[in-house]
């Protein structure tokens, strides 16, 4: 490489600059540290360090009964907590061999796809922020707010949702929830359209994103990429299609793929996925509306050993109180065995490896966190690129510190 500065022979000075990017830096959107070695603005090498918000979830989980692990999963990818919660409940259901009614599956699909949209909205609008366009970010926050209001109607909380139960939901969706979903289905396409118009064919945006942070399909697979990042490289692997859960096989949707795996393709894939999610929500909403009479009251599987009884009953009925106590304390039987279950999270395949020895808590619980796995490719993605591109690459990978550090 040619250098502009010529150092005298034997000089102890070096030609490169060391830059400490992070751990707390406004451009990293999370706690990440990168020690960059720069030649001018060009990145020669980087050393990533992670673990700044490590909370020992896997160790904690070894002392917690099933329901006490759900709030832990909230704090993995906190941009799409419901997917994590449901992934965990689905894992428990797989171990306990519980099958859920169709209505529960469809309601879950609605919530999971809303979560995917809110996750992708954040990621794509942050890519905009890092390339100098703040407007989009503020604009789509309104839609995220609507999604959070829907969560709020369903489970009572917004960010760390702790949504659902093993076997279904804690309560049926009320009319306000359905109204809000309808409102979302009407308003959101317009916003997304405008959001797309703002960026997709924007010359400045394209120049910044195209041919930066790219990866080939082969390397992406070798690095264990999943989710939109892998699909942007041209591999159509999607857990919802390959190992359908929660009746995803009943829905008609496409799996958008990119070609070059660069920042621009990642943006496009996420944008297209938001449209697909919208299609899925519309279908699921239709299907849910088709349940009439008593079928419309089904919101959980009949599994009294694992599904928490109604709170009113806990206060007034002996039987319910006993079940409540037993379930909370993990005194209901859990079979021995090991199970791996995965869902398509906001940023890739979120897996749960659950080893049970029949005790009240998992013997071992491992979370396959997609962004922990693909973040190791970051060095390869930004090498020989510009520092300003590295910032965009970081946000377009959709790194979530909570998931990375578990």
């Amino acid at each position: 490489m040619e250098h502009h500065v010529k150092l005298p022979e034997g000089s102890i000075e070096k030609l490169t600059t060391t830059l400490n990017l992070g751990p707390t830096h406004p451009a990293t959107h999370g706690v990440f540290q990168n020690i960059l070695e720069l030649d001018g603005e060009r990145i020669i090498s980087t050393e990533q360090s992670v673990g700044f918000i490590h909370r020992a979830f896997e160790k904690l989980a070894e002392r917690r009964p099933l329901y006490q692990i759900t709030p832990i999963t909230d704090r993995l990818n906190y941009c799409s907590s419901p997917i994590n919660n449901m992934g965990w409940h689905l894992t428990c259901e797989k171990l306990l061999k519980i099958s859920t009614p169709k209505r529960v599956d469809y309601l879950r699909v609605i919530i999971m796809e809303l979560a995917r949209i809110s996750d992708h909205l954040i990621c794509n609008s942050i890519v905009g922020v890092d390339s100098g366009a703040y407007t989009g970010f503020l604009y789509v926050m309104q839609q995220r707010e609507l999604i959070y209001e829907i969560y709020e109607e369903v489970c009572g909380s917004r960010l760390t949702t702790n949504i659902g139960r093993v076997g279904g939901f804690e309560r049926n969706f009320n009319n306000i929830a359905f109204q809000k979903i309808e409102k979302f289905l009407v308003e959101y396409p317009k916003v997304l359209k405008e959001f797309g118009n703002l960026f997709i064919r924007n010359r400045i945006f394209m120049d910044r994103l195209q041919n930066t942070g790219g990866i080939s399909a082969e390397r992406a697979l070798n690095y264990g990429f999943t989710g939109p990042n892998l699909r942007a490289a041209g591999v159509d692997y999607d857990v919802r299609v390959h190992s359908p859960y929660s009746s995803y096989e009943d829905f008609d949707f496409n799996v958008p793929v990119g070609k070059t795996g660069d920042n621009y393709d990642r943006f496009l894939v996420r944008d297209a996925e938001m449209w697909e999610s919208l299609k899925i929500i519309e279908q699921a909403y239709q299907k849910v509306q088709e349940f009439k009479g008593t079928d419309a009251d089904v919101f959980h599987a009949e599994v009294p050993e694992y599904y928490l009884p109604k709170k009113e009953d806990v206060y007034t009925k002996m039987e319910a109180l006993i079940w409540h106590f037993k379930i909370i304390m993990g005194e209901t039987a859990i079979p021995k065995g090991e199970v791996y279950n995965s869902v398509e999270g906001g940023n890739g395949e979120l897996g749960f490896y659950f080893v049970s020895d029949g005790g009240r808590t998992p013997y071992r619980l491992h979370f396959r966190r997609p962004c922990f796995i693909y973040y190791q490719a970051y060095e390869e993605l930004i090498k020989n690129g510009l520092l300003s591109d590295a910032i965009i690459t970081m946000s377009s990978l959709n790194l979530i510190a909570g998931e990375l550090d578990a």
Partner: protein, 173 residues
């Protein structure tokens, strides 16, 4: 990608493995529909390589790699669990190797899978597995100064009923 209806079965995978490594080398069973097998730790790389390169097996995607600790399995206390995925035929398998606690040396898979690099560092960090040949085996989530491997079973979480600790600042005083 086309989902192949003529997917290989667990029995065929087992047959291929036993053909290559001998019947005594492979201990297999099925857990919740996933073909799971265990071999001696010294041949882990050969097994992974075979699964990767054999065209009919084609397990080229490393989904997950993690550690596990069974204190009562004398001589085989520390385990490493690989989850592999054949993306073309959409089959997942689980592969385990075990090593003694006083010498948990296992060959690294990071040359075969770039994804294994950090996952092995994580496994080292929490279980102390010494991955032979790993390019940079150092702690990843915990601090470098830590002198124990916290996910091993001999380190229980704090007893919540203990009374010798001043927890006033945390609302538990």
């Amino acid at each position: 990608m086309e989902l192949n209806n003529m997917a290989i079965t667990s029995a065929e995978i087992l047959q291929k493995l036993t053909q290559k490594f001998g019947e005594d080398a492979i201990h297999s069973y099925e857990s919740y529909g996933m073909f799971t097998f265990e071999t001696d730790k010294d041949i882990n790389l050969k097994v992974l390589q075979f699964l990767y390169e054999e065209p009919s097996l084609n397990f080229q995607f490393l989904t997950d790699l993690c550690g596990i600790h069974y204190p009562d399995n004398t001589g085989k206390e520390i385990g490493v669990v690989y989850h592999l995925h054949n993306l073309v035929e959409n089959i997942r398998i689980r592969y385990k190797v075990f090593a003694p606690k006083d010498a948990p040396n296992i060959f690294t898979a990071s040359k075969l899978f770039s994804a294994a690099n950090w996952m092995e560092r994580e496994t080292y960090d929490f279980y102390g597995v010494n991955f032979i040949g790993h390019p940079k085996l150092k702690r990843i989530l915990n601090v470098d100064e830590m002198d124990y491997f916290p996910l091993r079973k001999e380190y229980p979480l704090e007893d919540q009923t203990r009374i010798d600790k001043d927890d006033e600042m945390f609302g538990r005083g």
